[in-house]
Subunit: 362 residues, 3 copies
Amino acid sequence: MFLKNCWYVAAWDYELIDGKMLARTLLNENVLLYRGDSGEVIALNNRCPHRGALLSDGRREGDDVRCMYHGIKYNKDGRCLQIPGQDMIPPKLRVRKYPIVESARLIWIWMGDPARADRTLIPEYAPLHDPKWRGLPAYLHYDANYLLIVDNLSDFSHLAFVHTNTLGGSEEYAYVTKPVVVEKQERGFRVDRWHMNSEAPPFHKKVIRDKDARVDRRNHVTMLIPGIFYMETTFTPAGQGAEKGNLENAREYRNCQYMTPETDRTTHFFWVYLNNFEGTDTTISASLLDSLIEGFLEDKAIIERQQKTLEEDPNFQMLGILADAPLAHFRRVLDKLIQAEQEPPAGTVPAAAGAAKQTSLA
Amino acid sequence: MFLKNCWYVAAWDYELIDGKMLARTLLNENVLLYRGDSGEVIALNNRCPHRGALLSDGRREGDDVRCMYHGIKYNKDGRCLQIPGQDMIPPKLRVRKYPIVESARLIWIWMGDPARADRTLIPEYAPLHDPKWRGLPAYLHYDANYLLIVDNLSDFSHLAFVHTNTLGGSEEYAYVTKPVVVEKQERGFRVDRWHMNSEAPPFHKKVIRDKDARVDRRNHVTMLIPGIFYMETTFTPAGQGAEKGNLENAREYRNCQYMTPETDRTTHFFWVYLNNFEGTDTTISASLLDSLIEGFLEDKAIIERQQKTLEEDPNFQMLGILADAPLAHFRRVLDKLIQAEQEPPAGTVPAAAGAAKQTSLA
Amino acid sequence: MFLKNCWYVAAWDYELIDGKMLARTLLNENVLLYRGDSGEVIALNNRCPHRGALLSDGRREGDDVRCMYHGIKYNKDGRCLQIPGQDMIPPKLRVRKYPIVESARLIWIWMGDPARADRTLIPEYAPLHDPKWRGLPAYLHYDANYLLIVDNLSDFSHLAFVHTNTLGGSEEYAYVTKPVVVEKQERGFRVDRWHMNSEAPPFHKKVIRDKDARVDRRNHVTMLIPGIFYMETTFTPAGQGAEKGNLENAREYRNCQYMTPETDRTTHFFWVYLNNFEGTDTTISASLLDSLIEGFLEDKAIIERQQKTLEEDPNFQMLGILADAPLAHFRRVLDKLIQAEQEPPAGTVPAAAGAAKQTSLA
């Protein structure tokens, strides 16, 4: 059960170059994504309603698409334009269209009721729109439910054990630091965590000169519904008072991660790790990309094994520790939103039912 | 749910050479096929009733077969002949035998009530028995329900889009031609479709001299229960009056295809494409075999993806267009026959129940 | 449904060298096995109760183990010793521990109620403790329920057909020999079978000088709950009166096999084939190991196909012959024990329920 009425990242813009017809399963639905000749990004249900052939195996014609089984053609709104050998077009023969917004190289999709697709609901992030922040966008596929990745990002003590030699730096991170602020929000949470007078972690050492200098490290996390993670990381010379606002000679990063359910047990993971100090080439970004992939693969091994464990024994109940407060809050908030979506207030037209109707039609 | 009381193609005769013990699943049942020393083709349930070992892993002894787990031996009727170390043979220890008819290199099997296995019910096709028609028999395996292949063959507008560069020739086929006759029959349908003054399609061009000559093309299709397809194809010089019966200098083909369910989601596909103009060598047949395989693989990609789509969303309802009238008729006829088989008229001994009893015994 | 309150072989001791953290599924439960610095073999449920990460991916610290996701540490009894960043340890955060006994290089595990784990219930076998009996321990994995292997070992007529050219020697074994004693026991059965004046089977010929000498062959089988097989095999010069106790110049073997369910459809198969005549090198044992593997792979092919056949048609009922009396008895005894375990006498605390409670906690 997924939250439908919200924006998810469906793709990076670079996945739609050269007329590519991208077939991508999102929230268990098979979606066709392509950029029409007009430049608009179009998302349609990927199934021809006639015999179920994939439209992504079809032919793009301008902004339209033609199924290449029996030649039936649909426009960018999913309306049928042509049935070869038949003049009358039945109105039921149409494909579901999904609202799309393109912003800062991200293709956002709305899988719920189209009438509620308000683009101001996109959780925009300023650094993505600011040219001084630079990074290389990337994608990973997880064989795990997206919430297990959200969980992972909600407790940074795992940096100490999973990422000792990559993103973390030492087990000390778990023993001597704690979140100083855990703020529960209406659609997510915020966590602030400092590691004073510490050694720089490996990924950071790779892109700085003075690798031995002690640093005050700050990770400032924001997690938002449905699975959007922003983190500001700052390394400041140790002891100069970063915690009081002195950011002289700081090195800063901005981490953006988007978890979009593919199916109940798999996830699309979009991310970009930004820095503001590399200048005009991409040397720093390339190093950070490699480091982050190295770290994410460490997470991925654990998280995918967790998924298997949960599937092997559906009765297994995870036991919370204090550090799980943020993730527990996030799951509670999400459950409430999903429940509200499934059971709309009496007297209203149920949005979810309307969406479901469209699905079965498409 | 399959129609049981009818003939299906189980194999080509060439699959049973050199004493081969062929294990083949048909209508979800594991069947052993072999040619005994007497020359008779024998079909038995492939499971030893003792511990379930495969008889196809056993040893053929004349017309008999011995399970090579504990050495139990059965004759061609499935009767137990020997239990090593035991004198008394319990009558329940027997293997189900299936009626077989060999005709025109095809091995036909009857999976229903043996008492109703009447060989005159085999939908024979004269060209298969006429030495002037020549072709190379072949087999393909589909990861798709057999009815999706029947559907495919029921609407020839797909030639235009799926087979443009192989069997079809151009998209024009879908835009300018329509079936001229659609005849619904008690156990299938017949469709007649002409494409006047057209370019010859690629597969035909490969085996004729004057590749540029315009032709009047006729495809005359017959589809029969449970999934048997015969098609007469004629290419006549354009404009000479083929539609009025003038077949001078015509090139003719006879297409025979047999779809036999392996399981609910897989199919055995037997076929041979006949011509009457190659003389004594097999050059023409070999070219046509290659062309047809090329074309069938185009279908197979689409049909197997359809199967996946239907499995991914069992609620998906396909929406018919006018061209689907023949396939809709076929499915209605088949459904009625299956239903009649499941619910026999009151007062009679149910045939299906009798068959089921035999199955559980075997 | 497995019998829980009994000892199963979990591993050979050589599988736990060099601090190896062995993850092994036993009776559908994922178990971590390791030898602590103290020398004790420890078995814990392999799932960290916090987020379900595998403890086998963790780090052994002396006799303790630390989960390397968030660093939580457990002792050899499954008690939590440390949660990094948290002082209070909730008592519910503990891992299930399984009783272990190490004996004659075998690691025995008790998967049921720990309070009932009595080490005198282990079905010990004297030759394993006697240095004059020598052999090379080995392991095979079966894609089949363990009872199908028990079945296989319960009727030796299969030697004639499955192992004609390896362990059996000829089909004669099935035709001319029968069990002389079949003794049903409270927790298993015993079978005695002689093959007088016979050719030596291939595996035995490989390790003796006079390969043409006729022998009187005796196989004396004991099968015990839950799936433990011991067999004494004797080859005596033909006609000298072995059946009356004259074992002069006999060659003897002792066969030990342990079938432990991994899942409902897979099995761990531990075995060692002992001889008492090789002296100080392992030449004979190495030859016997190869021969036995060769023979077991013949069984494995049949047994794994049986498993598939049973899964393909859950309604298939196997039909017994006279030789199935021992295996039928074994299954009856086992079923009764399992039933008794599931439905304890009124007025007592149900052991199985207690075990289940512990499982869900772990």
